[in-house]
């Protein structure tokens, strides 16, 4: 299962989760196996960071391309949320902690 965390930094598991989804700088994508162990960590740029408008939608598009199942951020704008709902990616609200700590909460969701 792939979980994407909206982060402002690219430190991977130690990066702090961003308050915003659509305009976060990076997505830290953590792949876990059935037992919950981390198999892979990848950091990609969020195209929504550069977008003038429609940032949330572009961000979701990128995550769909990456085959993400769950996305974690502090807040999701209404447009982004609508697209997330139809895409089947599960949004989870957490912010202010590092990816490592939020991973457990995301796995429970």
């Amino acid at each position: 299962m792939k979980i994407a965390f909206a982060t402002e930094g690219s430190e991977g598991l130690d990066a702090v989760i961003s308050q915003r989804f659509g305009r976060a700088r990076f997505f830290t994508i953590v792949e876990v196996n059935e037992v919950g162990n981390v198999i892979n960590v990848k950091v990609i740029e969020n195209p929504g960071f550069y977008a003038e408008r429609g940032a949330g939608v572009r961000a979701v598009q990128r995550l769909i391309e990456e085959g993400v199942n769950v996305v974690v951020a502090g807040d999701f704008g209404p447009n982004a949320l609508a697209v997330l709902r139809s895409s089947g990616i599960r949004p989870v609200r957490v912010s202010g902690v590092a990816v490592r700590e939020a991973l457990t909460k995301a796995l429970q969701a």
Partner: protein
């Protein structure tokens, strides 16, 4: 402690900037660490109302991209014109020309061009500026190059700059009218929404819309009804709505003909007219906001907003 109050309304012209500028002046006297953000970048006016004395910093935002055709390589096939969803490309004298004001930088034309004659290049979306007002606190605003519009990107940069450059400061943000991209960008992560309404059906309608947005983000809202005595019936309707939704009404400000007069000078209303009809209501509003700020932790706990639950609907292809 970082605390951000965003002044929003949905409807334009109800008094956001008038209230925000007077609020800023009063709060600026009580707090040593205030920063004000003008998030209405299409038509900013706080730099005038708060009389910016000098500009101390600027940040050029170059995130937007626009496509341009290399005329030497273009063979005038017109595939790009077909691909463009904004109708920004036209065939002129056998060459494709892109209107940079219509182009959104999606890159579709770059992909379809068989001669690879089109490239995306960065344009300046806007310049975020930091100025020092005559009241001693800084103002963050932005100016736009002709043809570009205010965007969520610019507002986000303004708010990020406020947090980075003025760590720990209290922030008052004057949002734009409406509930679009730039207003959404103003609200994300804000602590308190000060909603402003006037007693008209249009303002009431827009109030409901902006409140739906603050509920979406789980941001507690408080309300000020401006020009309330112009229509008691509408004011009562709005008050009833506020009660049903749990929105605290902080002040009812009467219509004051000195307010439009005060706009002739670059000074906030309460400075020019310290004893006019609306002054009392404005001061009460500011006092209430400061009370909330000083008791933030307990006030926030009492007024927790239950965000609209995220129930993902999965559509399997």
């Amino acid at each position: 402690m970082v605390f951000e109050v965003v002044v929003a309304s949905g409807k334009g012209g109800v008094g956001k900037s008038t209230i925000a500028s007077s609020l800023a002046v009063i709060m600026g006297k009580e707090l040593s660490n205030l920063v004000v953000i003008d998030a209405d970048v299409d038509a900013p006016n706080l730099h005038l109302m708060l009389n910016v004395r000098e500009w101390v910093d600027e940040l050029v935002i170059r995130s937007a991209r626009v496509a341009k055709v290399n005329a030497d390589k273009c063979v005038g096939c017109g595939l790009c014109e077909n691909a463009c969803t904004n109708r920004a490309i036209k065939l002129v004298s056998g060459k494709c020309v892109i209107n940079k004001y219509l182009c959104e930088g999606c890159g579709a034309c770059v992909l379809v061009c068989p001669k690879k004659a089109i490239e995306l290049y960065e344009v300046i979306s806007g310049i975020v500026k930091v100025g020092l007002t005559e009241f001693g606190f800084p103002l963050i605003t932005a100016s736009l190059p002709p043809g570009r519009a205010n965007t969520g990107k610019i507002v986000t940069e303004e708010r990020n700059l406020a947090r980075e450059r003025f760590k720990g400061f209290t922030i008052v943000t004057d949002a734009a009218a409406g509930i679009g991209c730039q207003v959404i960008a103003s609200l994300v992560g804000a602590d308190l929404a000060l909603l402003v309404a006037e007693p008209t059906p249009t303002s009431f309608n827009d109030l409901k819309r902006i409140h739906r947005l603050t509920k979406h983000f789980g941001i507690p809202s408080v309300l000020a009804i401006n020009k309330y005595d112009l229509d008691q019936y509408m004011t009562d309707k709005i008050l009833k709505f506020a009660e049903e939704e749990g929105i605290g009404v902080l002040a009812l400000i009467p219509y004051d003909s000195n307010i439009p007069l005060s706009m002739a000078r670059p000074t906030p209303f309460i400075i020019q007219y310290p004893e006019s009809k609306a002054t009392g209501g404005l001061i009460k509003l500011c006092t209430e906001i400061l009370k909330i700020l000083r008791n933030w932790d307990s006030w926030r706990r009492e007024h927790r907003v239950k965000p609209i639950p995220y129930i993902p609907k999965v559509i399997k292809p």
